[in-house]
């Protein structure tokens, strides 16, 4: 509820705590349809990455030169493979950016579906995981960027080792137990479904709503168990020899960058070995000082973000943000080096978004937030300005509409979109 003034009334009202007539359980935006035929899709994977603390924009967008934060991408030979789009906004409450960073891929503060979860049921139909939600170690604030259709945040995997286990298997020792738990779980749910169905006949309307909700959830979990069972005896891909996890894992947020490095690398493996086609990842905020190259930063990450335009602090902040972008560069390079079975590289068949719904962390301001789109067979042009700090009238969701179309969805709108950015990118 902590937001500042200086917002128009509508935005304020939406963001604060009052009654407002909005659909409670928004269904899929009516204008989004699943791809009619996969052939029409220009890309088939979506990776959505978001930091909770934004990026230092003068070095994220930059004019007429390669900004410092884009340097890692250029050095990795990805200069033609990305576009940063400035001037984007969600136009929601413009107050405390911190509390609203989770809206990066939903566009709304009200419970609503995130971009990745909108496409996951279609794109992720045939992979071991329909989608994965990651966060680079422990988070001080709510970590998930992924929200279900009913607006429920999806839990995140915090530990690189847990992601490793999901991608490469945790060993076969538990196979018998897993099989038992899945099978017994299904018969259990079946029993409960029957019982609840019987009770439904004599329930009040309100109770019936709960029963419906319950039965819907039971059926969804049954489907999930079935998928787990189907994949249970299929062998996991083998991890590459070069991949080594640290002897002792530490998800404490002081080690954010170390965990983040592992997450980027594991994510690249999960994409290239087709464990999943939809991923969201949070790079969390922390008050802690971070370990960079064996030394702790002189001030905490969050404190550095309140740089007050002091060169020394900005440099400290950029040192950290560079590491985020180096991870992104390694990830994208790995995709570029991986041929897609359908032709081209995996970089081209994967839309990657990296950004933050925090426009200016120094002032907790949300307007004109940083966003980068990479790969995905777009017409890239390094940088496109759709606005500035003063004028940010282009909705970030316009970009998401274009992304949806690239992924083969018949989409005309998504969340707060007003149009699309096809003219810029597609």
């Amino acid at each position: 509820m902590s937001r500042t003034f200086g917002q128009d009334r509508r935005q304020f009202i939406r963001g604060s705590s009052y009654a407002l007539a909005l659909p409670l359980l928004p269904s899929l935006p009516g204008a989004v349809r699943a791809p009619a035929s996969p052939a029409r899709a220009k890309a088939k994977r979506l990776v959505c990455v978001g930091t909770q603390l934004g990026f230092y924009k003068p070095e994220f967008f930059g004019e007429g030169r390669t900004p410092r934060l884009m340097q890692p991408l250029v050095e990795a030979g990805l200069g033609e493979a990305f576009t940063t789009v400035s001037g984007l906004d969600h136009k929601g409450p413009s107050g405390n950016g911190h509390q609203l960073v989770y809206t990066l891929y939903t566009g709304h503060v009200v419970p609503s579906v995130s971009l990745d979860q909108l496409v996951a049921p279609v794109l992720g139909r045939d992979t071991r995981y329909e989608s994965l939600q990651l966060c680079c170690g422990q988070a001080q604030q709510k970590a998930s960027l992924s929200f279900t259709k009913s607006g429920v945040p999806l839990p995140v995997t915090l530990r690189p080792s847990a992601l490793y286990a999901r991608v490469f298997g945790a060993g076969s020792v538990e196979l018998q137990r897993q099989t038992y738990l899945i099978e017994s779980g299904r018969s259990l749910l079946d029993d409960l479904k029957g019982e609840a169905g019987l009770a439904g006949g004599r329930a009040s309307p309100d109770d019936r709503r709960a029963l419906d909700e319950y039965l819907t959830s039971v059926r969804a979990v049954e489907a999930k168990l079935e998928r787990r069972r189907d994949w249970l005896d299929k062998p996991f891909p083998r991890p590459p020899e070069s991949l080594r996890l640290p002897v002792e894992e530490n998800t404490d947020s002081s080690f954010l960058l170390q965990n983040e490095d592992l997450m980027w690398d594991l994510m690249a493996l999960a994409v290239t070995n087709d464990s999943t086609r939809v991923i969201s990842m949070t790079i969390p905020i922390t008050d802690r000082a971070l370990l960079v190259d064996g030394k702790f930063t002189r001030e905490g990450y969050h404190r550095l973000s309140h740089h007050g335009n002091k060169a020394e602090k900005i440099d400290g902040l950029l040192t950290i943000e560079e590491r985020h972008m180096q991870g992104a560069a390694r990830f994208l390079k790995a995709l570029k080096d991986a041929p897609d079975p359908d032709g081209g590289s995996m970089l081209d068949s994967t839309v990657t978004l990296v950004g933050s719904a925090m426009g200016d962390a120094a002032a907790h301001r949300r307007r004109n937030f940083p966003l980068l789109v990479a790969g995905g067979a777009f017409r890239h042009k390094r940088h496109v300005a759709c606005g500035s700090d003063e004028v940010s009238n282009t909705m970030a969701c316009d970009l998401y509409v274009t992304v949806l179309q690239q992924l083969g969805f018949e989409a005309e709108e998504f969340s707060t979109s007003q149009s699309d950015l096809n003219s810029v990118l597609a």
Partner: protein
Amino acid sequence: MRVSRLAATAAAVVAVAADSQASPHPPFLREFTATYCAGCHGGAEPKGGFRAGEPSRPLADAVARDQWMRAADYVAKGVMPPVGALLPSPAERERFAESVRDGLVASGESARSGRGLPRRLNRIEYLNTLRDLFPIREIRLPVTFPDDNPDLRFDTMAEGTHLSPGHLDAFSEVAIDIADRMVPLPYKREWKSFTRRGTVGQDPARTKFWEREGDALGLYFTGVNIAGWSGALWDKAFVAPASGVYRVRLKASAQAAAGADGKPLRLGFYAFNPVDYDLHKRALRVDLPRVGGVEVTSEKPAFVDADLLLEKGETFHVYCENRLRKEYPRALIRTPGNTADLRRLLATYLTEARDAPEPTIRFVSMEVSGPVRPLPRQLEFLGGRAPMLDRAYMESILLPLAERAFRRPLAVGERRQLIDGALEHGAGAPSPEYAVHFGIRRILLSPQFLYRESGEAAQDDFALAGRLAYLLWSSMPDAELTRLAGQGQLSDPEVLRRQVARMVRDAKAQQFVKHFSGQWLGGREAASVMVCDVRHEWSELIRYGIVRSTEMFFDEVLQRNRSIRTFIDSEFTYANEPMRIAWGIPGSEVDLRRLEADQRQSLLWPEPERLDLSSLGPRVPRHVASRGGALGLSSVFAATGDGVESSPILRGVWVLENLMGMPPPPPPGDVPALVADTSQARTVREVLSAHQSVEKCAVCHAKIDPIGLALENYDATGGWRASYYAGEESGTAPMPVQPRSEMEDGTRLAGPQDLKDYLIARPQIFTKALAGLLLEYGTGRELGAADSRAVDRIAAAEPQGGYGFQDLIVSLVSSAAFAAN
């Protein structure tokens, strides 16, 4: 964002006081609105999109219904008609509100209060209920457990507690985990480990916390903890794969015949869960359960065994318990009034410990294996005998559990289905344990467990017991409440009064303190708001103090049954030492950074102390005296800022909602998103007045802004300021804060005290607001017309001087509105 009462309401056609048969009041209503309202709320463009001129018009949608609810509220509370217009008498106001609400009740969907959507146990309630149900040492939810919707008024609201597949999936994981811990399945889940040599009990001053391996950090030896032990950790090598008894075989030698207490050197084993991955805490923890111990007497390496009772997922520390001659000096713990130089004392202690070699235990090897047998509590749960696949046995184990889990007696059908299911499953399984395991999972996934007070008998005494328990404990009813419900005594007001008194005294009532006050008075927001520490004198110790002092203030009003007007203004408040430093209270010469160092050493957070505001010393800054009541609590201000700057608007809205029960209305549908031109404004006041110059903004901002402006002396963390932050390098003089404003009714405010005086002079406003909030929290519904009537009745019966807080709770839980679904 609170989900609207409009949103979920079915668009039933409701006629408010519509036809003369349904309501005895329409002529009065028609007359009233024609006289007092129609001037503005009539014509082609009624103000606020609300047409009051035709109360007989059927209210076709939820929006109109909401408008009428609000109209009743505003007229009753004197907000409408506005100053300058023709004003009704207090009696007319009351009658208007009553008739509108009666009309709504009579013509609404039913005569019941609000809407009683079934509620899933929220995250907190679910965890607390599991902890009360099962005698497992520590139940925690997996890190992947989904959060509840954070954007509602309270996390108990039905709208926020939908069940989703994600939740059911998580419930299912937890159910498996609990069943595993209660009934070990005969899987081969064993562990054998072997660790290298080392010494248990290093000199604390030389303790190595970190062992560096690139960026990967490992922790091998703990430092001195607060009780003076030091020891080693084995979590890297060992995590119990299942709950059970584990055997540790240690080859070790004692370096002295006796420890500090003259007895043989003794190792103690202390369990913890390595998921608590806080290195610092782990090294110093004192509150770990002791799960086994062994004496080491041999001077030559020899084998000794110890049996440890471990829960799944746990590992253990091992400490030499009687090694040190000295206890960790208690003087090193910062307590109120202890102003010794703690840092120097600690340094002395560590030097002494280092210079005086202490006896230690050296070990050559350590081996852990198991589980070698089930835990005693597991055997007890299974009735002390091997499980059998027969109906009587299954009933004896599962039915008592199900009755407690469902918080009511089971219907015949429910019993049969549960036992049949377990037996059927057991028949196809390798052993009878599977049937019990399956039964537990089924209970924990049943709607009767996951949903609160739903079903056919949602309004009986058992439902009341549940509601009461979840209100005051955020957990299931205990045996006494269940017994009273079973005897049909719980609806007796005298019994209820005694139960409330008992429940409030119980330690579990701290859940109410924490969660209700945390959501009402900003504690939850304050606990997580990211603070810009360039602008504010800030420390995590202040954050801790801010959150705890609000809880302690609330707890005092609750425990002592103080008048609820204490929440408006009081002669006391709470603050911890770091807060007192920030407030400029003399008497403490320590600085914040030193206190932080002490906290890191002792792991104790500086607890707030009671501050008597009526007898402050002469050197105490004047603003401290106005810290009484909710409008002096830092958590309220931290929650309504963004960690950088205060927001008069959010503060105004906060006061309207939380102290006055008048949340500003939703925007009329035809107002486009407006951006007032505030580019020339230099001060907060100017920005706000620019907003007020647009009439559609001013409708609400005339109510909101004056309140917020009167509170501007509080910064975004609840600290006091005389002027605004001017920036570090800016050469301009800081702008002074001017907390002067004029409320819509003409009342002039010049700071928080005036606002408190305003509320104290109109006590019913706050009584209704608080009763309404409690009703909302307790029932989980947006309040309907019948609820407002119930709140009015409770407020009308308020004794002189105000309700005691417990008395208000008793009145509330005795009301039909609280029991209604």
